[in-house]
């Protein structure tokens, strides 16, 4: 089973009622501490530079202003994000606090209103749609599944 199979799969309730589609797969990534000489793309590029005039403090300041970057270990499936309609990619707006540039996030949020998280334990079956007339991948939820808020922690 691949993540790509689950994405955009139809979501069915325990009784087979269509509920929407899978818009994303939520994972928990193990993160690790590490000594500050981490190997990595950008740092490496910088190291190759002849940077006599670049002070170390400057270097650190530049790093802290950068985007988040973690040393990671295993990735475990937590659940599926279910959206009531097929509205394409999220662009990240639904689950974050970003509100600019107007009006893009507002439109995307509107399209994705009503999205919720279902725990992986509450997924009863994943069908690859190989059976005749099944029409692609579908996911069936277990009885008593819970609709959890979709926001990222």
């Amino acid at each position: 089973m691949n993540v790509g199979d689950l994405l955009d799969a139809r979501v069915l309730g325990p009784d087979g009622v269509p509920l929407g589609v899978v818009v994303d797969v939520r994972l928990a990534l193990e993160t690790r501490d590490e000594p500050d000489d981490g190997p990595g793309g950008r740092e490496d590029r910088e190291d190759r530079e002849d940077s006599e005039d670049r002070k170390d403090s400057e270097h650190d300041a530049a790093l802290s202003s950068r985007a988040r970057r973690d040393a990671v270990g295993g990735a475990v499936v937590l659940g599926l994000l279910v959206g009531p309609r097929r509205a394409g990619s999220y662009h990240g707006y639904e689950r974050t606090q970003v509100r600019s540039p107007w009006p893009v996030p507002q439109i995307v949020r509107r399209l994705h209103r009503g999205t919720y998280l279902v725990r992986w334990q509450d997924v009863a079956a994943v069908d690859d749609g190989a059976a005749a007339g099944a029409g692609g991948w579908s996911v069936r939820l277990a009885p008593g599944y819970a609709e959890l808020p979709p926001e990222l922690g």
């Binding site: 793309g41 950008r42 590029r45 910088e46 190759r48 530079e49 670049r54 400057e58 530049a62 802290s64 202003s65 950068r66 985007a67 988040r68 394409g88 990619s89 662009h91 990240g92 974050t96 970003v98 600019s100 540039p101 107007w102 009006p103 893009v104």
Partner: protein, 409 residues
């Protein structure tokens, strides 16, 4: 001192790099038909390209991710794939136009048929891409492209009636002899020429080539804010030269030779020679940039190793893509299609493709996961939203206007 020099060089390069065959042809055509009445579009275009080029440069410097990686990441494989096909096709069209421009300019200099120059130009472009260091390539083409200042010199030597030029420009309105649809068609073409998407692909990927980090943001800002507006002034000078000399004579610009006539009239053989060298350098520089952009877009979408700072063998598929693009461009030109016609097509289709490039940049420039503390400020976002609307309107209007006016007649 070294830093000042680097900034100065960057600015000069931006000026030289801003004017390409699309700007040359479109501005001259517009000047000869509409006088100065479309200058406002150049101003709008320059502000737009400043806004988005600096945004793309900032995103890349801070996150390390170039524009097309971001487009793929934000739009997903399907929409970004469609975007890639469109961008690559337009980029190829622009590359074709630039190589044709080199050949036409060399034809002016030598009388040797353009058809003979086309393979030579293609080969020369490839050799530079294959061998020459990125900074040297950029600086030499940019500095020599600066000779296009000859158009501004020519304008002063022509001693035009400045008041009349100003009257044509403000308030903007189409001349009575022209249909409003034609006026708006050329407005869109001029906007497309000023904001060609390849400039953003090149600018952001160039930031990786030159290993920019968050510390280079001020250089980025200065390059953009000085270079592009001065490039815009050159565009206006080209249009003004055509408006002063060609418009009153009833000349419709359809070839590169007509574009340089005002320069010869004003400055004689010497200025003419300098401007022709400038045109060769500017189109050559733009051919390099568009060829690189074709490699950048494909490699970034598919995650290949790319960049001129690597040995060609360490970015094999990237170099192969550029070779294929160059061969295609040369092949298209060898069917003896008119490079000027290709140029006009390329700027209009650029206008159509603008939202595909600029919307994802604007979105990512607001994402703290990418940008940390360097997310867009309020003013930039307000401007960005205004341009979002302009860009979408221009894109939607481009094709209907092209059909309605029969490509501007």
């Amino acid at each position: 001192m070294k830093k000042v020099f680097a900034a100065a060089l960057g600015i000069l390069t931006a000026i030289g790099g801003f004017v390409d065959i699309g700007d040359l042809v479109t501005n001259a055509v517009v000047g000869s038909r509409f006088g100065m009445s479309l200058v406002w579009v150049v101003v709008v275009g320059v502000v737009g390209i400043c806004l988005f080029a600096s945004m793309a440069g900032r995103v890349t410097a801070v996150s390390g991710r170039a524009t097309f990686e971001i487009i793929r990441e934000r739009l997903g494989p399907r929409a970004a794939g469609a975007n890639l096909v469109a961008s690559f096709a337009i980029n190829l069209l622009t590359l074709t136009a630039e190589i044709g421009g080199i050949a036409l300019a060399l034809h002016l200099a030598s009388s040797v048929e353009p058809r003979l120059w086309i393979p030579v130009a293609g080969l020369a472009v490839w050799l530079v891409l294959w061998r020459v260091k990125f900074q040297i390539m950029e600086n030499v083409a940019g500095l020599m492209g600066l000779l296009l200042v000859g158009f501004a010199v020519a304008l002063f030597l022509l001693g035009p009636d400045w008041g009349e030029l100003l009257r044509q420009a403000v308030p903007p309105s189409p001349p009575g002899t022209e249909h409003p649809a034609s006026y708006w068609y050329y407005a869109v073409a001029l906007f497309g020429a000023a904001m060609t998407p390849y400039e953003v692909f090149f600018f952001s990927s160039g930031a990786v080539e030159e290993r920019w980090t968050a510390k280079d943001l001020s250089t980025n800002r200065v390059n953009v804010l000085v270079g592009f507006p001065l490039g815009g002034l050159l565009s206006v000078a080209i249009a003004a030269c055509a408006a002063v000399v060609l418009l009153p004579a009833g000349i419709e610009v359809s070839s590169l030779s007509q574009i340089v006539l005002p320069v010869a009239q004003a400055g004689g053989v010497l200025l003419l020679a300098l401007v022709i060298v400038g045109i060769v350098a500017a189109t050559f520089g733009a051919a390099l940039e568009t060829a690189l952009s074709s490699g950048y877009t494909v490699a970034q979408y598919l995650g290949w190793s790319w960049g001129k700072f690597r040995r060609p063998a360490r970015a094999a598929r990237f170099h192969l893509t550029m070779i294929v693009a160059l061969l295609l461009g040369v092949g298209i030109l060898m069917t003896s299609v008119d490079p000027i016609a290709v140029t006009e097509m390329s700027v209009v289709f650029s206008a159509v493709a603008l939202p595909l490039t600029y919307v994802p940049i604007l979105v990512v420039a607001n994402d703290p996961e990418y940008m940390g503390e360097h997310v867009n400020g309020r003013v930039v976002n307000a401007l960005g939203t205004v341009y979002l609307v302009i860009v979408v309107v221009a894109a939607v209007a481009a094709i209907p206007l092209m059909i309605a006016t029969g490509a501007g007649s």
